[in-house]
C-alpha cells in the first residue's frame, strides 16, 4: 500500500452519472491484485475531509501492447457513480488535476484460494448490482487468464446503470441483464434470473462472486445457501481511513467479543458469505 499524490489522465463520463477515472500511478497499479480497493482524497478542501473508498476497476499500461512485449502497468482506473458530495466533486476532475490515492488496500479475492475454488467449480458466476460491477472486472480478467468459465449477471435501476458491458463481453460465456424499470433485459432484480438459473442447473457447482447493494447481497447469499454454492462477497461500507485504525467500517461477522466485528478495509473487503452475520444494520443504505 502506498500513499501518493497522482495525476488524473482522464475522467470519462459514462451513462447514468457514472465516470471512469484514470490516474497515472505505476507503483500502485503494479501492486494491485483483484478485489482490492483505493481511497481517493480530494486535495485542498477542508470541508470534504475523508477519502472515498472505491474498487480498483482496472489497471492498464499507458499504451496497449505493441509487438510481443508487455508494457508495464501504469494506470489505475476507478469506476464511480455520483452519489453524494465527494463523488460530485470528483466528477469535476480534469486531466492534469492531482488527487490523493491510498492504494491498493484490502486483501482482495483471497489470491490463490479463490482460484482453486474457481477451478473446483463448473463455472464462476459474477453477480453485480449497480456500481458493484467495479469490483468484478479484475477478478474476471484473472480467471479468464486461468481458463475458467464465467458468466455475468448484472442488474441496475435503468439501462444507463449497465456500464462496462464491453469490458466483460470477451471474458464471459454469457451476460444476463436486469433493470428495475425494464429498459433492458429482465424487468426486476438481477437475483430473479439468478434464482431461475440456479434452479435450472441444480446439478452444477458454482463459485459465486457478488458485489452490490445490501438487499442484493442478502438475496444472493440466501440463494447460494439454498443451492449449496460457495459465495464470495465484496462488501462496501463508509470508511474513515482505509488503514484499519478508525474502526468505522466494521461489519458483524461470525465471532464473539472483540472478534464479532471485522474491518471491511483490512479483513475485507471480500468475505466468504458464511462468515458475514446478515443483520439489516450491517450496511448503510446507499
Amino acid at each position: 500500500m502506498y500513499d501518493e499524490t497522482v495525476a488524473v489522465v482522464e475522467n470519462r463520463p459514462l451513462t447514468g452519472g457514472h465516470f471512469l477515472l484514470s490516474v497515472h500511478s505505476p507503483r500502485q497499479a503494479q501492486a494491485t491484485r483483484p478485489g482490492q480497493f483505493a481511497m481517493v482524497r480530494l486535495l485542498g478542501r477542508s470541508d470534504v475531509l475523508l477519502r472515498r473508498p472505491m474498487s480498483i476497476y482496472d489497471v492498464k499500461p499507458v499504451r496497449p501492447k505493441v509487438g510481443g512485449q508487455r508494457p508495464p502497468l501504469q494506470i489505475i482506473q476507478l469506476l464511480y457513480k455520483i452519489v453524494g458530495r465527494g463523488t460530485r466533486l470528483m466528477a469535476g476532475l480534469m486531466p492534469g488535476d492531482k488527487v490523493g490515492l491510498l492504494a491498493p488496500l484490502g486483501h482482495g479475492f483471497f489470491a490463490e484460494e479463490y482460484l482453486s475454488e474457481a477451478q473446483k467449480a463448473d463455472e464462476v458466476l459474477h453477480v453485480a448490482g449497480g456500481i458493484g460491477i467495479a469490483a468484478l472486472l479484475l477478478p474476471a480478467k484473472d480467471l479468464a487468464r486461468a481458463g475458467i468459465r464465467q458468466r455475468l449477471l448484472f442488474g441496475g435501476r435503468t439501462k444507463d446503470d449497465l456500464v462496462a458491458l464491453d469490458e466483460f463481453k470477451p471474458l464471459v460465456s454469457s451476460m444476463t441483464l436486469a433493470t428495475e424499470n425494464g429498459s433492458r433485459g429482465h424487468r426486476g432484480y438481477v437475483t430473479q434470473p439468478l434464482e431461475a438459473f440456479l434452479e435450472r442447473n441444480r446439478n452444477k457447482k458454482y463459485l459465486m462472486m457478488v458485489c452490490g447493494p445490501w438487499p442484493m447481497l442478502d438475496a444472493s447469499v440466501k440463494l447460494a445457501a439454498k443451492f449449496g454454492h460457495r459465495c464470495l462477497l465484496s462488501m462496501e461500507n463508509r470508511m474513515g481511513c482505509g488503514l484499519g485504525v478508525c474502526l468505522g467500517c466494521c461489519i458483524r461477522v461470525d465471532g464473539t467479543g472483540h472478534g464479532a466485528y471485522q474491518r471491511v478495509c483490512t479483513e475485507g473487503p471480500v468475505f466468504w458469505s458464511e462468515k458475514v452475520i446478515w443483520e439489516k444494520e450491517n450496511l448503510p443504505k446507499t
Binding site: L49, L50, C241, L243, I251, E281, P284
Partner: protein, 357 residues
C-alpha cells in the same frame, strides 16, 4: 519503508526508568534538555537560531509537542510504513479497557461539513492482549507511548490500570472519562465533578505512570471539571474529546449513525475546543495537552499560545497520515522565524485592552 531511527535512546531510557521506577517519574532525558532554559541559550552564528521544541509534561519528556490522538492512530504499527514514527512526540493508543470490547453496531461513522461523526463504541483488544501483542512494537520506538484507558465503573478503570501497570514501555496513562458513545460509559464521569474526582483519585492511586485526564467538552463549564480532576491528582489534562452531535437521513428518517448520537471531530470543532483550552489554562496549574481539529502547524500554535504545552492530531490522521510530522516541522519553522523556544510560546496570548474571559 519503516524507518527506525533512535531505538537505542529509548532502550537506554527504559533501562534508567526501571532503575528509578515509580514514584519517581522524571525521565532522565529531561535533565539534559530542560525546556525552561533561557531564550538565548542556543544560537549558532551561520544558520541562525536553533529553537527548542521539546516539552515536559508531568515529568514525561517529549522530543516535540505533537502526539497522535487516541482512536485515530491504532496501536502505531498501522502507520509504520507511511511515516517515521520516531519523529512523533508521542503516540496515544486506542482506548484500552480491562476486557476486550466488541464496539457498536454499524453504521459507525458519517462525514459532515469539515468534520466527521463517530460512534465506534471503544472496540478494543483488552489490556492483556495490548500488553502481549501491541506494546512490544511501541517499545522499539523512541516516541513516547501514552495509553488511553477507559471503563464503565471506577473499578473497571482501576482494573485496567492494574493490568497495564505491568507494561514496560508505557510513559503515561490518559484517562478517558469523556467518550460520548458508550452506554452509561465514560462521559457520565466526565459530566459530574464528584464522579470525576472519584475516578481520577482512584486511578491516580492505582497508576504506576503519570496520569493525563481527557476531558469532555459536553459540559456547561469545563473549568469546574478541570479543577475537579486537578484536585483529585491528575498530572495533566487532555482537552477535549469529541462533541456530541448527530445527522439524519431525511429519505429514510433514520439516524446516519446507529448509536443515534455520535462524537463530532475535525476542523469544525477547533474554535470551541481552543476556547476551552484557553479558559482551563487560566483555571488550573497542571499542563494541558490541546486537541480538536488540528490539521496544520498554525492550528497547533493557536492551542499552544492559548496555554497548551503539547497538542494531539486526531481526525487528520485518517485522511493525511503525514499531518503530525508536518505540524512538528511547521512549529519548528515558526519558532525559528520568531526566535523563540516552544516553552516561551505556551500561554503567551496577548489580549490588547481586553478582559480575556
Amino acid at each position: 519503508m519503516a524507518k527506525v531511527k533512535s531505538q537505542k535512546s529509548k532502550a537506554e531510557n527504559r533501562k534508567s526508568k526501571v532503575e528509578t521506577q515509580s514514584p519517581i517519574r522524571v525521565n532522565p532525558k529531561s535533565k539534559i534538555t530542560n525546556p525552561k532554559s533561557p531564550k538565548s541559550s542556543v544560537k549558532s552564528a551561520d544558520s541562525g537560531f536553533v529553537p527548542r521544541v521539546d516539552t515536559l509534561i508531568a515529568g514525561v519528556h517529549f522530543d516535540n509537542p505533537v502526539l497522535t490522538a487516541s482512536g485515530t492512530f491504532g496501536y502505531g504499527r498501522e502507520f509504520a510504513h507511511l511515516i517515521d514514527l520516531n519523529l512523533l512526540g508521542g503516540i496515544v493508543v486506542k482506548g484500552i479497557s480491562a476486557e476486550p470490547m466488541p464496539g457498536n453496531r454499524p453504521p459507525r461513522i458519517y462525514e459532515t461539513e469539515s468534520g466527521m461523526l463517530n460512534a465506534i463504541g471503544l472496540q478494543n483488544v483488552g489490556a492483556r492482549k495490548f500488553l502481549d501483542e501491541k506494546l512490544p512494537f511501541l517499545r522499539t520506538l523512541s516516541t513516547r507511548c501514552v495509553v488511553n484507558v477507559f471503563g464503565y465503573s471506577t473499578e473497571d478503570y482501576v482494573r485496567a490500570i492494574e493490568i497495564l501497570n505491568a507494561g514496560e514501555g508505557i510513559d503515561a496513562y490518559e484517562l478517558n472519562i469523556s467518550c460520548p458513545n458508550t452506554r452509561c460509559g465514560g462521559m457520565v464521569y466526565g459530566n459530574d465533578p464528584k464522579l470525576t474526582e472519584e475516578v481520577v483519585a482512584a486511578a491516580k492511586r492505582a497508576a504506576r505512570f503519570p496520569l493525563f485526564v481527557k476531558l469532555s467538552p459536553n459540559v456547561t463549564d469545563i473549568t469546574v471539571l478541570a479543577r475537579a480532576a486537578e484536585a483529585a491528582g491528575a498530572d495533566a489534562l487532555t482537552m477535549v474529546n469529541t462533541f456530541v452531535g448527530m445527522a439524519i437521513d431525511i429519505e429514510t428518517r433514520t439516524p446516519r449513525v446507529s448509536n443515534v448520537t455520535a462524537g463530532l471531530s475535525g476542523p469544525a470543532i477547533k474554535p470551541v475546543a481552543l476556547r476551552m483550552v484557553y479558559q482551563v489554562a487560566r483555571a488550573v496549574k497542571i499542563p494541558i495537552v490541546g486537541i480538536g481539529g488540528i490539521a496544520t502547524a498554525e492550528d497547533a500554535l493557536e492551542y499552544i499560545i492559548a496555554g497548551a504545552r503539547a497538542v494531539q492530531v486526531g481526525t487528520a490522521n485518517f485522511y493525511a497520515p503525514e499531518t503530525s510530522l508536518r505540524v512538528v516541522e511547521g512549529i519548528r519553522e515558526f519558532c525559528r522565524r520568531k526566535l523563540t523556544h516552544l516553552s516561551d510560546l505556551v500561554g503567551s496570548l496577548r489580549v490588547p485592552n481586553g478582559p480575556g474571559s
